[in-house]
């Protein structure tokens, strides 16, 4: 019983973490790698550092609105 509760809590914690990571956009690099592997399977993908730099520069040119 106790182990089941523990398992339940651990899985809830993992889900919350997964949710927050997704909402904050931390998984963007993983998406990029997956997308890159599919679209340009033979080209070398950007390094993580270069990817985030590129992403931020892109956001510079494409601002996202925030509501009131």
């Amino acid at each position: 019983m106790a182990t089941r509760t523990l398992h339940g809590l651990a899985s809830a914690g993992r889900n919350i973490l997964w949710f927050l990571r997704g909402v904050l956009g931390e998984d963007a690099y993983q998406h990029y790698l997956a997308h890159h592997a599919r679209v340009h399977p033979h080209a070398e993908p950007l390094s993580e550092r270069a990817f985030w730099k590129d992403k931020m520069d892109w956001e510079d040119r494409n601002p996202q609105g925030r509501c009131c």
Partner: protein
């Protein structure tokens, strides 16, 4: 190259068989009947208690039950009706996220994550502020409007705009307006959007200034968010790129430290000297900050602050909901206050109709959402059917935030509420003045004592709580009152108060930066039609010039608001609501034209109802503001009264005690009156164009649509938060495909 050209044979279907879905949907098992009967019963009881109760107090939990039960019923039945009759989503059709997938702004995203994403983008300080100001009329008008408004208007707008934008490759509201309403309607919509952004940023900034004025603690902790964000930006850029969670946690810890250490700083002599600033100085600081933040690279300030703001948004809302359920405060505010039937309320002037409906915009119907629901979110939607959960459901969630803000505001003593929210023009900004003014209002059961105000100020660590208008401080007191009953006790009130001020300031400053930036790009795009060089957004002089124009626009109104001899918030806030509802009317007008084009005339009322209401509210409110002979309500009446007084050689008039103050009123009312006229004219143009387009469609029984061509979908995901049995089964079939045949979607 395009995946859509790949064969779909051998793959499981991309949609649940409509017949099976229909059967599961329509079949009423005993368990289902019992659940919905209980929801309806609890909701009905809660509404009856809210509506009929005239006892001493009423428990806040009934607000939660009335809201949640109504949302559930509306989501299950009304939004489903809209889905069945109007949107008619088709999951075999690929969404732009699938057929345009670029791993960047177009990307199939898990519906639950996207819900959080969308919610964080639409909800900010708006739903926290409006309900607080509207509480002067009593709790019932605001509660009814927030809940009924969201069900029939706000959520409908968000859902339909999102759906139609998704069918158009994620096009923005402005682009859809041009397509559907022609060049005149499109231009009016663009002009309205730009003006509205200026007004909204200005008034949000005014709320922050009022919350931080003469508060060393507040100024210190909010100012500290800037170095915290800069640190986070540098950390993510150079030290550990991509570790957003980690840096957000560090940022959050630093933020807590900023709040806690604020007390020590404010109590020290040097801290008080350095951070005790008057409102005009703070306003200038925000203007300079707004310009700098909008031209700095995103990674340095804007993006990290947005992470922090999102983190706080989700955390605070969960915390507040839990606190209200745990503490269940007793509310002693009457259902209808003395000001519900009058037009001289000290918080925001004007009669219940139409001013309740413009005071509470966000939370019930917010036109600004149409800018997020078009463009940003639709490019990430995985399956067409998910738009109901994201658009309709997301807005219900924001409405719930507004209800919680209302509960927080009405859980504080009414005398204190009016002392905090009446402008310094009537309270003189002193405890004695506030006590005399509030007690002279003749409110039932209100007997304000000077000790109540000084005691509260000491508890929350502020010099004074008198005339802290704008809604944010009142909400902060409400939250501190509820939270300290949960844990911490009165000793923690100062922390909770500044915690609340901090997150409101954080949301607002994020909206100010992002709003300025988005507006700058819109302006560059517009000017670029005449001077092509401006279209190049990386061209520095153009970027700086357009940023300066936008900042000057909202900065000017902010300074007018801060120095307004009549109070500021009470005269400017109605413009915020009118602007927001006007944008809603524009969005609904565009949606109406689209629904008509699809030939869905029988159910057009779903759109016409909120559109007509938004139009009547905006136009009536504008007419009041333009033509009302009551100076507190009509901008021009006030303008003419002060001009006459100046012409007569008077040196003081009403609450303006000098010739300069009188001239300031003449100038401010001119700006406000002009904006009212502009808003009304633009609304009428856009609605007229939409009606013309609708009638044209009616005559021809529908017109060709501007949708993107259909592409077969090759991915599958359930529609709502919880998958139905049929959806689970289909999901399992997709999961059982061999790895190399699995579609690539953002699985996280």
């Amino acid at each position: 190259m395009s995946e859509s050209s790949a064969p779909t044979t051998g793959l499981p279907p991309a949609a649940v068989d409509p017949a099976v879905a229909e059967e599961q949907d329509r079949k009423w098992t005993p368990a289902k009947i019992i659940i919905w009967a209980v929801i309806a019963l609890v909701g009905g009881i809660a509404w009856a208690i809210l509506a009929i109760s005239r006892g001493e107090t009423i428990n806040a939990i009934w607000f939660v039950f009335a809201a949640v039960c109504t949302y559930l019923i509306a989501y299950r039945f009304y939004s489903k009706y809209i889905e069945r009759k109007i949107t008619r989503p088709d999951d075999t059709r690929a969404t732009p996220a699938e057929y345009n997938d670029n791993g960047r702004d177009y990307m199939p995203t898990d519906r639950r994550v996207l819900f959080g994403h969308h919610f964080a983008a639409i909800a900010g300080a708006g739903p926290l502020v409006g309900p607080v100001l509207a509480a002067q009329m009593g709790y019932l008008p605001g509660t009814v409007w927030i809940i009924v408004g969201v069900v029939l208007a706000g959520a409908v707008q968000d859902y339909l705009v999102m759906f139609f934008s998704m069918r158009r490759g994620g096009r923005s509201l402005g682009q859809m307006a041009r397509e559907e309403l022609g060049i005149i309607g499109g231009t009016a919509a663009l002009l309205a959007t730009l003006t509205i952004m200026i007004i909204i940023v200005a008034i949000l900034a005014l709320v922050v200034v009022n919350a931080l004025g003469e508060s060393a603690w507040g100024v210190y902790s909010v100012a500290l968010t800037i170095p915290i964000a800069l640190f986070m930006g540098v950390y993510l850029r150079f030290i550990r790129p991509g570790r957003i969670m980690e840096v957000s946690l560090i940022g959050f810890a630093l933020l807590m430290f900023a709040i806690i250490s604020g007390r020590w700083v404010a109590e020290s002599a040097w801290g008080a000297e350095l951070f005790h600033l008057d409102r005009t100085t703070i306003a200038w600081a925000i203007i300079i900050y707004g310009f700098v933040a909008a031209v700095l690279p995103v990674w340095l300030l804007l993006a990290p602050r947005d992470y922090l703001s999102t983190f706080m948004k989700i955390g605070v809302i969960v915390l507040l909901a839990l606190a209200i359920i745990v503490v269940r405060p007793e509310i002693s505010v009457p259902a209808f206050s003395e000001f519900a039937g009058r037009e001289d309320g000290p918080v925001v002037p004007g009669s219940l109709f139409p001013f309740l409906f413009v005071t509470i915009a966000c939370g019930a119907l917010s036109g600004f959402h149409a800018l997020i629901s078009s463009g940003t979110t639709p490019k990430l939607v995985e399956k067409e059917k998910q738009t109901r959960f994201l658009g309709y459901g997301g807005m219900l969630m924001e409405s719930f935030v507004a209800i919680m803000a209302l509960v927080a505001a009405i859980s504080i003593d009414r005398g204190i509420y009016f002392a905090m929210n009446s402008s310094a023009a009537v309270t003189q900004g002193t405890v004695e003045g506030a006590v005399a003014f509030v007690n002279s209002l003749g409110l039932a059961g209100v007997n304000l004592t000077p000790d109540a105000l000084t005691g509260l100020a000491a508890n929350v660590g502020e010099e004074s709580v008198v005339s802290r208008t704008g809604g944010a401080p009142t909400l902060a007191v409400g939250i501190a009152t509820i939270m300290n009953q949960w844990f911490g006790g009165p000793a923690m009130m100062g922390f909770w108060y500044h915690f609340a001020i901090m997150f409101e300031a954080l949301f607002i400053l994020t909206a100010v930066d992002a709003g300025t930036r988005v507006a700058r790009f819109m302006l560059q795009d517009t000017i670029g039609n005449f001077i092509p060089k401006f279209k190049d957004t990386s061209w520095r002089p153009g970027a700086w010039l357009c940023t300066a124009i936008m900042v000057a626009g909202w900065g000017y109104i902010l300074i007018l608001g801060v120095t307004d001899p009549l109070g500021g918030i009470n005269t400017f806030f109605p413009l915020f609501g009118i602007a927001n509802q006007l944008l809603a009317a524009i969005a609904l007008a565009v949606v109406m034209a689209i629904v008509a084009k699809r030939g869905t005339f029988k159910h057009l009322w779903v759109v016409v109802l909120p559109l007509a209401f938004a139009a009547v509210v905006t136009i009536t409110a504008s007419l009041f503001k333009i033509f009302s002979p009551v100076p507190a309500v009509g901008y021009w009446a006030q303008h003419n009264a002060f001009r006459q007084a100046l012409a007569d050689g008077q040196t003081s008039f009403g609450t303006a005690k000098s010739v300069e103050a009188m001239e300031a009123v003449v100038r401010n009312t001119f700006v406000q009156g002009t904006l009212s006229v502009l808003f009304m004219v633009l609304t009428i143009i856009v609605i007229a164009m939409a009606v013309t387009a609708t009638v044209k469609s009616y005559r021809t029984r529908g017109m060709p649509e501007n949708e993107d061509p259909r592409v077969e979908s090759r991915i599958y995901a359930p529609a709502g938060l919880i998958a139905t049995p049929a959806e689970k089964e289909l999901e399992a079939r997709w999961k059982s495909l061999p790895a190399e045949r699995q579609p690539v979607r953002a699985r996280h």
